[in-house]
């Protein structure tokens, strides 16, 4: 999975709600949920040092 960027996003109360990623030019909102295939792939790439998740704005 070619993830070119990843950044946490918050809900309106400022609580971390998900990770916004860009895959092959398409932007997606990924829930913070093990078992979601995108979340699992993000964590795998982070653990391998291949991806960094930016803080929420």
């Amino acid at each position: 999975m070619n993830i070119t960027s990843a950044q946490y996003y918050n809900d309106r109360d400022g609580v971390q709600d998900g990770i916004r990623i860009v895959v092959d030019g398409i932007t997606m909102d990924v829930p913070l949920e093990t078992g979601n295939r995108h979340y699992d792939e993000i964590m795998k790439q982070v653990a391998a040092g291949d991806l960094t998740i930016a803080d929420a704005e």
Binding site: M1, D11, D24, Y39
Partner: protein
């Protein structure tokens, strides 16, 4: 055949897994292609046929698409076509098409106990490239085990039906029938059925007809390198995995039934014949009030309620009316419509979500399309 024989066969079929619902494969008849029907490059994801992953890591490339080429002349198949050849496959390279089955739907197999069931996989296949191919059955939960079986495509460009029986004790009595062979009763992947196209030497240590605890054993050394020519194609349809020691007739389901099964894993707002990301208002989600009551501030859309509850909270991709991701269209109904406006998602769960546009052009409502992906 006698009426008594008919009833006996009927009862036997029911005992073996039911007359309907026996097929554990979703979209085995290749009826549903929500993402795309035309040739699309395989990239290790769900690119065309619903519920099927197009695995590809190689120096070559292939596409998949929906085809009307079918063994009974009415229906669809999945067609794979080599577009860049790889005549010398590296050890870590591979190409295969696979399907993941949700674990909680497999509890009747009794894997992990001495009562584990024998399974039968049947499918129609066709290719210009004859020779030995492999299928694999991978069980990822607990201790991973993988079963591999060779089959041959005997005649070029000819539909052939293949049947493969998978005994829980094939090759070992201490794998599937022992506690480590269990499939968790959850919404993860319980079994994965793979159709090998090309396997590098890292993966060809399997013994045909046997389970292995080495989960790199996806294939045997006899597997052809299907990627070796851009002339090569591969067609697949009527895939059925059922309980029992023999293949029964393929379970035909209605399109609506199969679509709803697929929507547990993937759903879109677009019409079924429209690819996600297409610039169109047809089928677009819309929330809003009367013309003129506009705001340049926040507009929160109504809850998007999925047609089918998802396997898990899905990944969401939102598109505006022009087909740009992470954007919506802010509208003053009947007056203006401005695409390219930022949108956030919130309150997301397995049943739906909200789209929220915090600011932008003067709007009395918002419009957007979505994809919800809860695939395994």
């Amino acid at each position: 055949m006698s009426r008594a024989r008919d009833f006996a066969d009927l009862a036997g079929s029911a005992d073996a897994g039911g007359l309907t619902g026996k097929n554990m494969v979703v979209n085995g008849a290749m009826q549903v292609f929500q993402r795309a029907t035309a040739a699309t490059a395989a990239a290790g994801g769900y690119e065309t046929a619903d519920r099927f992953i197009m695995g590809e890591v190689s120096g070559g490339a292939y596409t998949t698409e929906r085809s009307t080429d079918h063994p009974t002349s009415s229906g669809y198949s999945l067609k794979a076509q080599v577009t860049t050849a790889d005549t010398s496959l590296s050890a870590a390279h591979y190409a295969y098409i696979y399907h993941k089955i949700e674990a909680q739907n497999l509890q009747h197999l009794a894997y992990g106990t001495s009562s584990a069931k024998t399974l039968t996989l049947s499918f129609f296949v066709k290719s210009n490239k004859t020779g030995t191919y492999t299928v694999n059955l991978y069980k990822p939960d607990g201790t991973g085990y993988i079963f591999v079986q060779e089959y041959t495509i005997d005649s070029a460009d000819t539909w052939e039906k293949k049947t493969i029986t998978v005994s829980p004790t094939a090759g070992s009595t201490s794998f599937i029938t022992a506690s480590a062979g269990a499939i968790a009763n959850d919404n993860g992947s319980g079994l994965e059925v793979g159709f090998g196209l090309a396997w590098g030497s890292n993966y060809t240590g399997g013994t045909s007809g046997s389970w292995s605890s080495n989960t790199n054993h996806y294939a045997t050394t006899n597997q052809v390198n299907w990627l070796d020519s851009t002339s090569n194609n591969f067609y697949l349809t009527q895939i059925q995995l059922e309980v029992g020691e023999k293949a029964t007739p393929f379970e035909h389901r209605s399109f609506g039934d199969e679509l709803r099964r697929c929507q547990r894993y993937y759903e879109k707002s677009y019409g079924q014949s429209t690819n996600p990301g297409t610039g169109t208002a047809a089928g677009i989600m819309q929330s809003g009030g009367a013309q003129g009551n506009t705001t340049t501030g926040e507009y929160a859309g109504d809850k998007v309620q999925y047609a089918v509850v998802k396997r898990a909270t899905p990944t969401l991709t939102i598109y505006d009316g022009d087909g740009t991701s992470a954007k919506c269209t802010r509208v003053n109904f009947g007056v203006t419509a401005a695409a390219g406006q930022d949108i956030a998602t919130g309150n997301s769960t397995d049943s739906g979500f909200n789209g929220i546009s915090y600011s932008g052009g003067a709007a009395s409502g918002i419009q957007f399309h979505f994809e919800a992906d809860a695939e395994l």
